[in-house]
Assembly symmetry: D2
């Protein structure tokens, strides 16, 4: 859920314009009655992570054939692109003196960061809301505290292991990188999967290559200004496939800004708030795409940050 | 590497006493000529993580039979035991307003912590030193900056997958928890492995159950005051087995304080500084031990914190 | 506003007990109609700081006779007593290398703290609320953001210079330190002032010596568990004197916990929320009291932290 | 001490060039024998703050005639210019629930920042070094710890009150702002003082107006890229006047970069390391200059941050 600050300004102006023109937004959130309780049950806090079961693990491990590991996580340092208002700061606490007859020195470091929402980041269900309503119709005032959420915290997730499927949309389109505000359509997803001779199954970790990751560290300003990604229809289509998570090599998974300026990152709400599907942003997908590693065991271990909205992670593909 | 603050006070007093008595420490670090270059080569920064190869992964995956995942990481919150001077603080950044026609709200959080050295923590090679000398005889002044180490940073490690072996010393001794300053001996390790009908192989992730983890969150003061763990001889024996890492359910892996008050956490130096073997502290091992899950696929994904001394992690056993 | 965490637990239990007994609290906040707009006008954000005018300064300077400066602020380090959930952490960023022909090195430090609410601390008007209502009947949702308050921030205050008056209640009572939960009464304040041959004037910086500061750093647990201080009546009496601020050498200015367990730190609401009077906590008053420096020029410079609820400060008395 | 990061790059290149040309730097630090012990004595940690005495206060108060207070400190928020690697982050901890029969809510905030070196900042003597040598020839390894300096910490300073003298160099030159890399000369200082009919006295707080502060918040990039300021000769001249501190409305007090590319911020070393004179950077001087308030009581209260290199401050002029 990114670029809201800029989005707000743009959206405010456009909403003003729109109301003058009596425009209506192209998309409206479903009513609470249609989305709560979630399909995982009243009181559920795990959403798509409920797919994580022994059989999911066994299914994933089937794809481990050579033992090759491909890293999908970004290095965290002060130079990474961050959403306005976030930061990553690491300060070394260098040993001051050496102790004992063995002259032991010890170093550590302080990190101050929006650690749940920097780098390659795994979105939990406290991250976004529809008004004051969260996933499974929990209310913000009932679960938010100054030091974490009493429900929906990322510590609920646990390690996830699933069949991973790369949908290489950039490859399908024959480009290194999709254009800056390109909306990936259902046809794009279907076409790319057909090209790869793959179909999605419930519980998959679905990962979409847009090529946008190429800008990471080389043009951070452009990387965070807009990004290509799935639109609302493609989001609905993917969610209907019942995945464990949806990931991509961009900030927002979804196209940003949305072509309809009245709505702000709607796929975030759709996935997280309305359907309880985890998102995984800022993945490093170049190696996976270059190797045409379309099907693999996907493994991610979110940090067990009590009450947090997400976790920076270092996921891998194994095949 | 824990309890140094208290250790310093004790050690200073004892060293003073010792010099009066002309005592000599029971252990002395090997000379640089005997330990550098490391067995992994001049300039190596990965040490025991060099064991991570496709065949290691394939070997580990062999132990996945039911798809059961056992979590080995602790939840991170403000109530966890931390070494003096460290802290874990999470502050929710709650959405201020809802944006767009879809009334999007967004929450995130700031975490300030010694994130490399809190919770279940994976020690990298910048963590401890022998005087101003680090692993592979790198010099502190050459690699330490105020914002990270230019060499030996934890981002070098990457995900590790290996055959995991639990050595249940508490179980072997027939106790729920080893005594407060019990030194685990070579005989203990050999006896426990024999009882489990297992032997160690190069590249294993070796995990030692002391039962000490029972105190985590229930008696933090005692948890961090001392702990049972391996002594120097057992450390040397384990390192000679050429593991990928050594983990345990205590602060220091090793017995703390060392029975010889002149030396401070010597196994840290032995493993990290002299032999380049990673340590993994504060593991949650109760479930593993209770299920007698002695052999498994071990998976850990250290965060890619540039230049950091370690990483909080959420490892798992899969079987 | 301190000890809320413990207070909550106690209060919850007692409120439960009270409702069973059909008890009613001994004090109820005034209705909004009686307190808004504040006496400083609709939209005012400065409250008692409005006393700060050239004539206030000139009046204060009259008390500078010898040029003696008495420091009233506490040193900030990791050992200070802090309210549960707060912390003070300072990490040195040590120079890494020396630059130029003049071999310049540069050190700095990162501080992570509830900097507005640690050490000797100056409370602004965003600090406490009555339900979701702040000073001058501003609403929490209208002014709170994740990164500061859009109104009532401490940056509005500016430097304050005023006639300072020490009311030495401990001295009046002939004790080094008032008892742990002693409620200072109106009679105590009047008696102490009479003993000192002083009376209060509008715009004074009123500072109350309880002796409790003696525990700072020597018994932090006791220091923060309870403290002697003014009760509601004495608070009302003081506020009626129209001071610029009320300070003391304890956590809460007011007696904690309040003798009526149904109400939580009511003087905070009374002063800050209902009357717009600043509080100044954790002052170091031993030297002032020992020297019987009852009347002086008081000077404080709150940090200009945009949107903050308070500021750690280093105030002085000059005479 | 600013812009070192960029300075390093430039300096490295230039030093390389210089050595090829066999250039020598235009300035060399004095030998230790010539500067230690400092004129304030062996072991002194207070340097120019030793000027702070009752008579200094009485002398300053003489200039308070109307009671007018002019604020000289900048507001601290996330938009201020900061030196690369520094940051200022404030996160509101918003009340979660209302407690007691009086429905008390409490807000506070976490600040993470190089709090000693952001905003209007007061430099202590641990801030810069000559190689590993600090003020009064203390050695870095002897006094630096991971959590503060054991000597020379800013907590030693205390409140400072002195006769303040504004030297309006921009006004003397008839410009709103001195050029980007203008080196203020001794003649400039003498000329400006003559125009103002003032002379300096030992113990003065000397404040130099360059006009550069106009860029604060309006062109942060230019503000921190270079700045006009005193050169080495003017620095030596000022230090010979024996001031309590030297302040200015720019990052570095001194011209940056130094006209001699071989030396990096030499006036910092000259003032802090060699002569123990405090610096006060990023002052807000526009109002003072516009009002031609050349002589005043200057008051500053550095935070008592144990072992810190400096303190953000909110100083004032009173007249």
């Amino acid at each position: 859920m990114k670029r809201i600050v800029y989005g707000i300004v743009a959206a405010a102006a456009l909403i003003a314009a729109a109301s003058a023109l009596a425009q209506t937004p192209s998309w409206a959130p479903p009513p609470e009655s249609a989305r709560c309780p979630s399909k995982w049950g009243t009181g559920d806090e795990r959403g798509s992570a409920n797919h994580m079961k022994p059989e999911t693990v066994l299914n994933a491990v089937r794809f481990v054939r050579t033992g090759e590991v491909i890293e999908l996580g970004r290095i965290l340092d002060a130079s990474i692109p961050v959403f306005p208002g976030r930061s990553f700061k690491l300060t070394t606490k260098r040993t001051a003196g050496f102790f004992g007859s063995n002259r032991l020195g010890a170093n550590e470091e302080v990190v101050d960061a929006e650690i749940g929402q920097v780098g390659t980041q795994f979105d939990g269900f406290a991250h976004v809301t529809h008004g004051d309503v969260l996933y499974n119709c929990l209310r913000l005032d009932d679960v938010a505290t100054a030091t974490g959420f009493t429900k929906l915290g990322i510590q609920n997730v646990g390690a996830l292991i699933a069949r991973g499927v790369l949908i290489d949309v950039a490859g399908y389109k024959g480009v290194e990188m999709l254009p800056d505000t390109y909306e990936i359509t259902v046809a794009d997803l279907e076409g790319a999967l057909q090209r790869q001779n793959l179909s999605l199954q419930p519980g998959d970790a679905v990962v979409i290559n847009t090529g946008w990751g190429k800008l990471w560290g080389s043009d951070n300003a452009r990387y965070t200004r807009t990004n290509p990604g799935i639109g609302i229809r493609a989001g609905e289509w993917l969610i209907a496939k019942d995945p464990m998570l949806i990931g991509s090599d961009n900030w927002t998974i979804e196209v940003f800004p949305n072509p309809d300026p009245l709505v702000i990152v709607p796929v975030h709400q759709l996935a997280i708030t309305f359907h309880g599907v985890h998102l995984l942003e800022n993945m490093k997908l170049d190696e996976l795409a270059a190797k045409r590693a379309y099907e693999f065991a996907f493994i991610v271990q979110p940090l067990k940050l009590q009450g947090a909205t997400g976790s920076t992670v270092a996921p891998i593909a194994v095949r």
